[in-house]
């Protein structure tokens, strides 16, 4: 009997010859990530538990991104507490203003294919895009890992999403994952592994694959994995020959297999206030919007800024409409500046923010008031996530957001491509 990619990563980690979904077992943690909002809580629990030294300071990464730049007087406390702990425990990987944690972890190669990684953030599923088993946990469990280097997990059953064919013009990874979420629902993969495969996925860049894995958690999934290939090995700087086994066996057991024909896909939006409330963009054309947001660990990468720039080049965003752009990392900002992308965005009227979570986490970076509508590239459109509970959030691809900002209403991005 064969195994799925998810099962194989767990087997590599635990040295087991066989495992079954539903089985509880302890994994050895390769890397952990803690971001600024939860750092003080992890540290407090760590001490309450009676630990003194972390199990391995080189396996812990701190990223300050939710409270960067600081918007409120108490924000700095999180950074000071984490700085002091990092100094005390000799944790060297501390990123204070370099971007969103889930972008930095793979980009800076803290996480590489085949690893088991946990983070105090639900979108830790992102690293599945490079073939890692990675998932979000709470700060109490993170404190336990800090002390022991281990965590128990339940081996999840796998849902396979087999996507074949070329994506039509104007359709992007974001449209794929939103479509899947609409089909299976916000709890459609609860406790399960999502595996994305097929020729469409193979054709996607690592950035686009990260968009898929990132939003797996929006269906409740534990992980959202994609088998690593040559692109992945080059991205992660690892020798592929030792990792050839990191793919599902042809006779692996899936709880369910979903088949998709990508050539039929269209641009879609998630309508307020659930990620699985999906409509075709065509059906929503004309919906007034007040603000666009391009950024986040879902869609704040170079290719996302690039497609927005293609649409905005030589044009101006609609009067009384804002477009906020927040690159996902410092290197993305730098590359986009060099490539002339930032110039195009700013000329068009975009408000460029420094790399961080920004508006996605709803702390600052463009909070909205009663009755305002946002169209955004991030991962959640929950009630009140970006400010007033009387505001509304639509989720879409960077192309759809850029096109909407041009007209102050939802429009089909294909007309600008």
């Amino acid at each position: 009997m064969g195994y799925t990619l998810t099962e194989k990563i767990i087997m590599r980690n635990t040295g087991r010859d066989s495992i079954t979904p539903g089985e509880l077992l302890n994994v050895n943690v390769d890397k952990v990530m803690v971001h600024d909002i939860f750092a003080p809580f992890v540290i407090e629990k760590f001490r309450e538990m009676g630990f003194e030294k972390v199990w391995n300071p080189d396996r812990i990464v701190f990223v300050y991104d939710h409270l960067v730049p600081t918007s409120f007087i108490e924000d700095f406390r999180h950074h000071k507490i984490a700085d002091a702990f990092a100094a005390e425990q000799n944790i060297k990987a501390v990123h204070r203003a370099d971007g969103v944690c889930h972008q930095l972890m793979p980009e800076l190669r803290y996480v590489v294919p085949g690893q088991v990684v946990f983070g105090t953030d639900s979108h830790t599923t992102t690293y599945g895009a490079i073939g890692a088993f990675s998932t979000g946990i709470g700060y109490t469990e993170m404190a336990a890992i800090f002390g022991t280097g281990e965590l128990w997990i339940k081996v999840p059953p796998t849902l396979k999403f087999n996507i074949k064919g070329d994506l039509p013009k104007g359709v992007f990874a974001k449209d794929i994952i939103l479509r899947i979420l609409g089909d299976i629902g916000a709890d459609g993969a609860t406790y399960k592994a999502m595996e994305f495969a097929g020729s469409t996925v193979e054709g996607l860049s690592i950035s686009s694959r990260m968009t898929l894995s990132n939003m797996a958690v929006e269906a409740g999934a534990k992980v959202g994995v994609i088998a690593p290939d040559e692109k992945t090995f080059a991205f992660s700087g690892v020798e592929g020959s030792r990792l050839q086994d990191l793919r599902s066996d042809s006779d692996a057991t899936y709880e369910k297999v979903f088949e998709y024909d990508a050539t039929t896909f269209k641009p879609v939006v998630a309508c307020p206030s659930n990620v699985d409330n999906i409509s075709d963009v065509e059906e929503m054309v004309g919906t007034r919007i007040d603000q666009g947001f391009i950024g986040s660990c879902t869609n704040g990468r170079l290719e996302d800024l690039e497609i927005a720039a293609r649409i905005l080049k030589g044009r101006k965003i609609a009067p009384f409409t804002k477009l906020i752009v927040t690159p996902a990392s410092r290197s993305i900002y730098a590359e986009a500046a060099k490539a002339g992308i930032i110039g195009i965005l700013v000329e068009a009227g975009a408000i460029m923010n420094p790399p961080a979570c920004g508006l996605c986490c709803g702390r600052s970076g463009g909070i909205v008031s009663d009755g305002e509508r946002v169209i955004a590239t991030n991962n959640r459109n929950f009630l009140g996530r970006m400010g007033s509970p009387k505001s509304e959030i639509f989720l879409a691809s960077p192309a759809t957001v850029a096109a909407a900002a041009l007209e102050g209403k939802i429009v089909d991005p294909r007309k600008y491509l």
Binding site: T70, P354, G387
Partner: protein, 418 residues
């Protein structure tokens, strides 16, 4: 007996041949501007107390959202929304996220000879172009917005004669800090600070604005520089014409005249918590910093960004220091981008912010916590202005801030600049 530039502008605006200090006049306003710091209150007064229906001239009333951009709360977003609705209704110029209000006004509206009223204290900046700008409160502003007129008392003028040349690492910012340190935070209360002399004649508009912008920190009603070819070229390159090119008469009366020689000036710094508590950077001793800020209507223009970039190029800032850089406007940002300065900032570890008031206003970006120390090119170092009441702000030039961000402590920039 002659008149000063300020007196001439006020005479013209009030339709008089001559005005004298102490005289109360009613003047016609060329432009008025309000930002998101207070506009929600202005709109309330306008609609609910004055029951006004129209602004005096929709081309001369300007709303600019710059204080909380992007907004950090539903409350500030509500203010912006209110401004947008009013601007649409009255068809007035409206800017959001395009830069600090005073920089936008200078780039897009101000010409020599105007009288400009705005609901913000740093409106005195426009003196850099030879316009009389002054800040007012909500009630005054709302009335101006409605009628286009304002009563003013003609102020006395103080003259600052500046000679010599800046030494490397010394800037207009150091000069104005030095002047405020000398005359005190109320040293020009209700007066006009007129900057002249051979040095100022060669100053760029950016540097002139740096001087006039902080006049209010000495209590002045306005700061002024005589408009000349440099001012004319600035406005004409932007498709505008000067209204009047006033010069102070030879026999104009000044309450006092001060002389400065730039050759003797060194980098200066205002220490917490008063703008006039100014010492040379060399005397500051060892002061650790947590954050640096380069930006604001005082010091966020291209020349300041160039000075900072020269120091930061190819280096990394101290890992424990946050350095926030907010170009004063979209135009400044794009210019900096074209010159490669933005790349330098991003690569040295700084956070490049969208053009806005940011840390200088102490909200929404770079708010500092209890016990933290900020070194800033902003306009004020009042206790708590950038965040927690128990925090400290030092004011210095962009070069001094950049040099300090590299070392993590307040550092003299000389030796690091050409």
């Amino acid at each position: 007996m002659g008149m000063t530039i300020g007196e001439k502008i006020l005479a013209m605006a009030s339709g008089k041949e001559v005005v004298r200090p102490g005289e109360i006049i009613t003047a016609k306003v060329d432009l008025c501007m309000s930002n998101d710091g207070t506009t929600h209150l202005n709109i309330d007064i306008f609609e609910n107390q004055l029951h006004a229906e129209k602004v005096f001239d929709p081309e001369k009333v300007i709303f600019i959202v710059d204080h909380n951009v992007p907004s950090e709360s539903a409350k500030t977003a509500q203010v912006h929304k209110k401004m947008r609705i009013f601007a649409q209704k009255h068809n007035i110029p409206f800017y959001e996220g395009t830069g600090v209000c005073h920089q936008i006004m200078i780039e897009d509206f101000i010409v020599p000879g105007q009288l400009v009223i705005a609901a913000d204290s740093h409106t005195c900046s426009y003196g850099g172009l030879g316009a009389f700008g002054t800040g007012v409160g909500c009630t005054d502003f709302t009335s101006v917005m409605n009628t286009g007129e304002i009563w003013l008392m003609v102020p006395e003028s103080l003259k600052f004669v500046i000679e010599g040349n800046f030494k490397p690492g010394v800037y207009a910012r150091d000069l104005i800090l030095k002047i405020i340190g000398d005359i005190g935070a109320n040293g020009a209360n209700y007066k006009i600070m007129e900057f002249g002399g051979s040095a100022v004649k060669n100053f760029t508009i950016d540097d002139r604005v740096v001087l006039c912008n902080m006049a209010v920190e000495a209590g002045a009603k306005s700061g002024l520089v005589e408009p000349d070819e440099i001012a004319i070229e600035y406005v004409e390159s932007r498709g505008r014409k000067a209204k009047h090119l006033y010069k102070s008469d030879e026999d104009a009366v000044y309450e006092n005249t001060y002389h400065y020689n730039l050759d003797e000036l060194e980098p200066m710094i205002a220490i917490p918590h008063c703008v006039d508590d100014v010492v040379p950077v060399t005397q500051i001793g060892e002061v650790k910093i947590d954050q640096g800020f380069i930006g604001s209507c005082n010091n966020g223009r291209i020349e300041e960004l160039r000075a900072a970039a020269q120091i930061l190029q190819g280096k990394k800032i101290n890992p424990y220091v946050k350095l926030l850089i907010s170009p004063a406007s979209k135009a400044v940002y794009l210019q900096a981008l074209a010159e490669g300065l933005i790349d330098i900032f991003v690569e040295c570890g700084a956070m490049v912010l969208n053009p806005n008031c940011s840390v200088c206003w102490g909200s929404c970006q770079g708010v500092i916590g209890e016990g933290e120390t900020l070194i800033s090119t902003g306009t004020r170092n009042f206790k708590g202005r950038a965040g927690h009441p128990n925090s400290s702000i030092y004011l210095a030039s962009a070069a001094t801030v950049a040099a300090s961000a590299l070392t993590g402590k307040i550092t003299d920039p000389r030796g690091q600049v050409l």
